[in-house]
Symmetry: C2
Subunit: 203 residues, 2 copies
DNA sequence: TTGCATTAATGAACAGTGTTCAGTATAATT
DNA sequence: AATTATACTGAACACTGTTCATTAATGCAA
């Protein structure tokens, strides 16, 4: 009975094709301009077909959200190979910033955009983010325990650290750095991050 | 010839009414759900009328953007009364966070949202933001010069500081704090900010 | 192989969006 | 009173997300 399996596979492939087209359009033209009809056009199916595979537009972008988190985890996972906690913390920050600047649309989708969150609040996509954050917390805790950095509560230090990096990146991604006219935000972000790190470092 | 003046006044008042309705709807229901037609309904005019006073929807929200920055300046201006630079820096942060949490939609509009920026890039609305940022820079420079805080370049320290506060706030405003389930983000943000401040402080 | 049931895909429609424009009604000027 | 200028609007266009009855294709049992 290979038929049921074939059908299942075809269903998966169709989902895949929709997501591929959606991601391509989304990265190319942004969220606003990526309509169901355009996705349908791209895969040469009727708009209604997409609703056989996804509940609504939110679910499509939620899936992209999940996939983006997948790549995010892969990227952030590299930091586990760095033994020294202090160096690891620095590494995490740099990789985070790099990921965000290299994939601004996906970062936007994950940490800034509003739309895809509304439908599903409980999400395994977020679990990945949670894991990444725990990785940071663990690292910060190690640094604190070994007396390498300043700070009281590792949770708040982690949060502050995440917040600062997200803030730097989010302002750049959403084009809110008009005061540094024309300059490449990349350098500023890294410079500011270094400043944060040196602030954090004891002596 | 009071007629021309009356007409001009009426034009201003109409603009005002549109903006008022737009702001009310926007704060109440968010950007997505605030349509030109609903604004028109609220002021009991036809949708087409709005286009006699504003080029397009972007311009309406750009104007709100500008107004929000006005209130922002007023709020931030309070910090000028704080003489001690260290205390002033702390004050700026607290007021900033407070403004953002008290007016999340307006903060969103100013520093996160995408839509209103696309039409006009050159903006006097942003000049206010610029001024506020310079206020922070000045304060940071004072603190650095007096040897009160850590750091090298005052510009990057300011940027890092702004970034960190924006990051903390933006994550809250856009609902990205799922790891702290159900807890009030307000306390976390202030706790994290305190951590940032104590990190920054020398000894 | 034929007939039936299941599944997949669609066209058309609904209610909504931003925006434009010809036309109307009102007010101001001559 | 006739003419010009201004303010406003209804209707339309091209979109949007979404639903649903209808059609086309497929799988299965007789």
């Amino acid at each position: 009975m290979g038929i049921a399996e074939r059908k299942e596979r075809e269903k998966r492939e169709m989902r895949e094709r929709i997501l591929e087209a959606a991601m391509r359009l989304f990265v190319e033209h942004g969220f606003e301009k990526t309509s169901i009809r355009k996705i349908a056009d791209a895969i040469e199916y009727s708009p209604a077909t997409i609703y056989l595979y996804f509940k609504d537009k939110s679910e499509v972008f939620f899936e992209l959200h999940r996939m983006a988190f997948g790549r995010f985890r892969e990227t952030m996972g590299q930091s586990l190979h760095v033994a020294d906690p202090m160096e690891r913390m620095r590494f995490i920050g740099r990789v985070y910033i790099d990921f965000a600047l290299q994939n601004p649309e996906q970062y936007d989708l994950m940490f800034i955009m509003r739309a895809p969150m509304e439908s599903k609040t409980e999400t395994d996509g977020w679990e990945v983010g949670h894991k990444a954050f725990e990785m940071l917390e663990t690292t910060v805790k190690e640094c604190l325990d070994q007396g390498l950095i300043q700070g009281e509560d590792y949770r708040f230090v982690s949060y502050a650290l995440w917040g600062s990096v997200h803030g730097l990146v989010a302002l750049a991604v959403r084009d809110r750095l008009k005061m540094y006219d024309e300059e490449d935000p990349r350098e500023h972000i890294f410079a500011a991050f270094d400043e944060v790190m040196s602030m954090l470092t004891l002596n």
